[in-house]
């Protein structure tokens, strides 16, 4: 989010407890106007709770929820300029597609006249590519169509904030991909702020401007997909955003801008961590599979480790290898097609070397 971006919603020290379960812990986050933000995290980490507090279905136990600069803790859901697409759509079964979409407009006071409602609903139907489906009954629609009706029902009200709680969880992979694409287009086209909840990292990475990674009720890191991928703050984030190889290490030397760690294999490596780390601390180093080079000859890199190839999986553009080092354990290596053509394929049992370029190795909090 750029500095000049206007803030539309904000969580300030928000905590929510249910009995003795802490569902959300001291959340601090500001959401910029027009941005596409995702909450990413495993099941039960408090994503839905955060969303429901923005929508007004749950009241924070502590802290403040702000919309447009005003504290809205005590504002009921039906007074908030926010709409939600529910995980299982929650479409009204007794109403037609048209009436479902018109529902929000019909609640407005002073009343919106019939003609305007009809025009807006038709427009919304066109936007989600369901033109002509208005008179249909909800149960006559397929899963993907229902999801679009749910979307249309929300966007027709032109909310300041559109909340989406795993809206694509019930769709098959192909349809999900399509809908992700459409959703992203729609967000650009409408300029509405989107807040998406998902536990699918691919979905979060491909769609969002910013991702807010959560763990056990807390926000652990917020940043653009690239920031999270290249500069994760902890092993947890690195593991959740993309895949990586993790190895334990001990800090031997900590200078201002560079620290030295010793791997279990005895080698010392250098790096610049995102967070302050003291000498003697146990840390974790991470290397992305695609940043590792696999060679037959000993390379001239700072560090090269001998490995035995265990397994090979052909993935089309890439080939994934599982390579074992005596001291460190298994490396996942992703070799691009071109590199494989140069070096030739490795077979299980073959000896090779893994190495990596400068900056590929990240030093993370355990």
């Amino acid at each position: 989010m750029s500095v000049t971006m206007q803030t539309i919603a904000e969580l300030r020290g928000v905590t929510k407890t249910f009995g003795n379960v802490v569902a959300a812990k001291d959340l601090n986050l500001s959401i910029g106007k027009g941005e596409f933000l995702s909450f990413l995290g495993p099941s039960g980490c408090g994503k839905t709770t955060a969303l429901r507090m923005l929508a007004g279905f749950e009241k924070p136990t502590e802290g403040q929820v702000l919309l447009d600069g005003e504290v809205v803790n005590d504002l009921d859901a039906h007074h908030r300029p926010v709409n939600m697409v529910f995980q299982h759509y929650a479409l009204f079964p007794h109403l037609s597609v048209f009436d479902n979409i018109a529902y929000g407009l019909r609640q407005q006071r002073p009343r919106v006249d019939k003609q305007t409602i009809a025009t807006k609903v038709e427009q919304a139907l066109e936007t989600v590519r369901l033109g002509g489906f208005g008179p249909r009954r909800i149960w006559e629609m397929s899963g993907g169509q229902q999801q679009r009706v749910a979307l249309a029902r929300a966007i027709v009200n032109e909310p300041k904030l559109l909340l989406l709680d795993e809206p694509m969880a019930a769709l098959d992979r192909k349809l999900r991909k399509e809908m992700q694409f459409e959703l992203q287009n729609l967000q650009r086209q409408l300029g509405i702020t989107f807040v998406l909840v998902t536990h699918d990292q691919e979905e979060a990475l491909s769609m969002s401007d910013r991702i807010c990674v959560m763990e056990g009720g807390s926000i652990v890191q917020v940043g653009s997909p690239r920031e999270l991928y290249d500069m994760p703050r902890s092993r947890y984030v690195a593991g959740f955003v993309g895949t990586s190889n993790f190895f334990d290490a001990t800090v031997t030397d900590s200078a201002a801008d560079q620290i030295t760690v010793r791997l279990a294999s005895g080698q010392k490596v250098h790096g610049t961590p995102e967070i302050p780390i003291d000498a003697g601390q146990e840390v974790c180093v991470s290397i992305r599979p695609e940043q590792i080079t696999l060679t037959r000859a000993l390379p001239t890199a700072e560090i090269a480790l001998p490995v035995t190839i265990q397994n090979r999986i052909f993935l089309g553009e890439h080939t994934e290898y599982l390579a074992r080092n005596e001291a460190l354990g298994d490396f996942h290596v992703l070799v691009p097609r071109q590199a494989e053509l140069n070096e030739g394929t490795f077979n299980a049992g073959e000896q090779a070397f893994v190495s990596w370029g400068e900056g590929a190795l990240l030093i993370l909090e355990k």
Binding site: A77, H78, A90, H94, G104, Q107, N157
Partner: protein, 283 residues
């Protein structure tokens, strides 16, 4: 076995039951209603419309039934709906089962005994005495249409509560959140979502209670004290006391016709209310 054979087998027990216990007796009653009363009571074969011509003599019983049955149904609905709503939507699941059991507990005792209890409550030393102590004199409750209404509502409440409870319990509570999210106040959410989606339960409950009330005789006999007669009481009187089977049959046939007419009007009304909805069944 063929598909038709299987269907026939499924329907056979109920079909035979209905034939023996309903269709045949109805036919007998139909035939009897054109007969005459024997000298010592009972039935003498004849073909006369005399019994039907005599119907106005029992007009009060028809009038009472046709006023108090719908009124009782509506009163039961008005009392049952909030209760069912509370149980299904507002009540914490921890308490729900126990409260539901409380609703059916009265069924563990015979309606006869429970109605006798009401004689005391509504009688001179019950509620009226209580009212007198706070200065409201000369209130007569027992042996009035009001007493019968109270008894009816009391006796039939569970039959109204359960179907409504079931339809409200099935209601997806997320729909209520969706409605609030779209800007609807709680009251409008109730009118536009909860109420329409509980129509099947309301329809079933009303139908059940109304049909049973049309044939009711016990409660009017006990709480109406011989002053508030239902058609059911007329039938008891004609078949068991005065042993005028022919006239009794004519009254019974008329009740069946009245019931068919009112129920079909009711069905029309409900199906119009439900529109073309698939989820609204008539019963």
């Amino acid at each position: 076995m063929t598909e038709r054979g299987r269907k026939a087998l499924l329907l056979a027990p109920a079909g035979i039951w209905l034939l023996v216990m309903l269709a045949l007796p109805l036919l007998v009653v139909f035939v009897f209603s054109f007969g005459e009363r024997g000298a010592a009571g009972g039935y003498v074969p004849a073909f006369t419309l005399e019994q039907y011509a005599n119907l106005p003599a029992r007009w009060t019983a028809f009038k009472n039934t046709l006023i108090l049955a719908p009124l009782g149904t509506i009163a039961a609905l008005v009392i049952a709906y909030p209760l069912a709503y509370f149980l299904a939507v507002r009540c914490s699941p921890k308490w729900r089962t126990s409260l539901l059991i409380l609703v059916i507990v009265p069924f563990w005792t015979s309606i006869l005994i429970r109605s006798y209890a009401w004689i005391f409550i509504l009688g001179g030393r019950g509620l009226p005495a209580l009212l007198e102590s706070i200065g409201i004199d000369d209130i007569r409750l027992i042996n009035t249409p009001f007493a019968v209404l109270v008894g009816i509502v009391y006796g039939y409440l569970p039959l109204m509560v359960f179907p409504i409870f079931v339809s409200l319990d099935k209601l997806d509570k997320r729909l209520l959140e969706a409605s609030a999210d779209l800007g609807s106040t709680p009251w409008r959410t109730f009118r536009q979502v909860t109420l329409p989606l509980s129509v099947p339960g309301i329809a079933t409950g009303c139908m059940l209670v109304f049909i049973l009330l049309m044939g009711e005789f016990l409660i009017p006999a006990i709480l109406g004290g011989g002053k508030v007669f239902f058609v059911g009481n007329a039938l008891v009187d004609l078949f068991l006391q005065s042993r005028n089977w022919a006239y009794g049959s004519a009254v019974a046939m008329t009740l069946v016709v009245v019931m068919l007419v009112t129920v079909s009007i009711y069905m029309k009304f409900i199906s119009r209310l439900g529109g073309q909805r698939e989820d609204v069944s008539l019963m």
